[in-house]
Amino acid sequence: MKTNYYRDSLQLLRLSEEAKKIEGVKDAAVVMATSTNKEILNKLKLLTSEGLSASSSDLIIAVLADSEPAIDHGIQRIEALLTQPPTASKGRFHTIEAALLSMPDANLAIVSIPGEHVRRIVTSLLEKGLNVHLFSDHVSLEDEFELKKLAKSKGLLVMGPGAGTSIIAGKAIAFANVVRKGNVGIVAAAGTGLQEVSVLVNDCGLGVSQALGTGGGDVKDQIGGITTLQAIEALERDTSTSIIVIVSKPPDATVKKKILDYVTQSTTKPVVTCFLGAEWSTNTIVNGTRISSTRTLHAAVLETLKRASPQATFDSISMSPNELFAIVNELRKELKGRQRYVRGLYTGGTLAYEALVILNQLVGSVYSNAPLNSSFRLPKSSESLKDSILDLGEEEFTLGRAHPMIDPTVRQLRLIEEARDPEVAVIIMDIMLGYGSHSDPAGAMCDSISKAQMIAKNDHRVLPILAHVCGTDQDPQRRSDQIERLEKIGVRTFSTNALMVTASALISRRGIVTLATLNEFYKQFLDSSHGK
């Protein structure tokens, strides 16, 4: 244990991978001693009493080996790697001032440092005239408001905190996919919502002009949608944007009104909104002609396509209720009577939220660590209950760890636990591609998927596992390769998250959700023109 010793979660993830390769070492982990990490070390049988007593600002080096000398050797090697001094090479600086001297015309800063330091650093960046993509989370709403107020007064953008994704001037920032350039502008207070919409727009032959992440806090009352409104105004004036898509988890009521009023009064371009999980009432539907409101990311994309290009084809992402029923009938035919529940293991928070919205309609309320309705909050995030959708990117799973889109460990362990539950009918998961993400996210899950299938088989069950690969063939991981890896081991993949979730509802509630119910659901949640 090293007291008061900070290294960021990605450095430690890389170091842990290196440590596992040291001769004589059977398993190893180098982590900040947060409660989450200690729990995971315990599951991996890497937690000692000394590790247990460490505090979150301490660092734990855990090594499993056959002999004391092998352990000592492992620890010495890891310590040597840890204490290697950072090299000051070309393009690498220790202060912002020095970096700016080397790049005086910088126009964007990306900030990913612990939340308590954000206000001071971002204030100085704004004072120097830079737009900021703020990836850091754990930033207070008070700090967020002050930073955004300052940014707005200077005509600059603060995208975030907690902004996972942006695409600016055709370049993917942080966790974003490689999509073609086009005329669809996106504003999203929902990182993986932005990824899903940009990927599906790309799949249907269109492209993205700019896609701006605002961070989830932006649509709360305390912030008032400052960045969202700046972004909409910019896209309205941007000549390469001809349609604007706004994606968010439910905004606070006053912010939703502010956004809709602004869109109605101050924009002229077609606008498609998707306030996932927002209370659905007549006042949500603003204007059926220029401005349209949708309930899922899938529907938002179809609506966008209809407006952007009347000749666009939706075949690449569409599937009729009849087709879906046929696929599901095949997947469900060997299920046992007691297999009744859906379990979702998500790395993308917005996709988890879309799953909750869809399941809420088709199977009723669903438990989650980030539920639609607080009475369905899982008592313990570490244990699923009935139908459960987990957002593994939430704080309880990520404190002091890399996000699960980068580090698959948490999901690998959880999948095995879910497979042991004889009441589980189907497991769904997202596989997020693009810059920032794991270099082979499907491959990283394959062993655990095979183990999960084996656990079910030994218990005389089948366990359908469904996946949605969110990405493009131009992403570094190449979508078609990722799909192939999964399908080879019996995972059924779907072109959109919404279709995968709908299939999981039909599997778990086989015989209960009828074709007529499904047709009505399609019309309201997936494709407003269905059946017309």
Binding site: G91, F93, K152, I168, A231
Partner: protein, 57 residues
């Protein structure tokens, strides 16, 4: 007042990356100009020393 934002949309990105180096590497592979600030939190100091330092700096 979005002129600076529109300018950002229409310029080559020039990025200062503060924190995770992953983002720097990803931008470089997209041929974006980027410089890295290897950020570390200030060491924890006794309050007395912190006060003296804040006066000096």
């Amino acid at each position: 007042m979005v002129e600076k934002i529109l300018k950002l949309f229409n310029s080559d990105l020039k990025v200062i990356n503060i924190g995770l180096e992953l983002f720097k590497n990803d931008l470089e592979s997209q041929k974006v100009s980027v410089v890295q600030v290897s950020w570390q939190p200030n060491p924890k100091l006794e309050k007395e020393y912190e006060d003296i330092l804040s006066k000096i700096l």
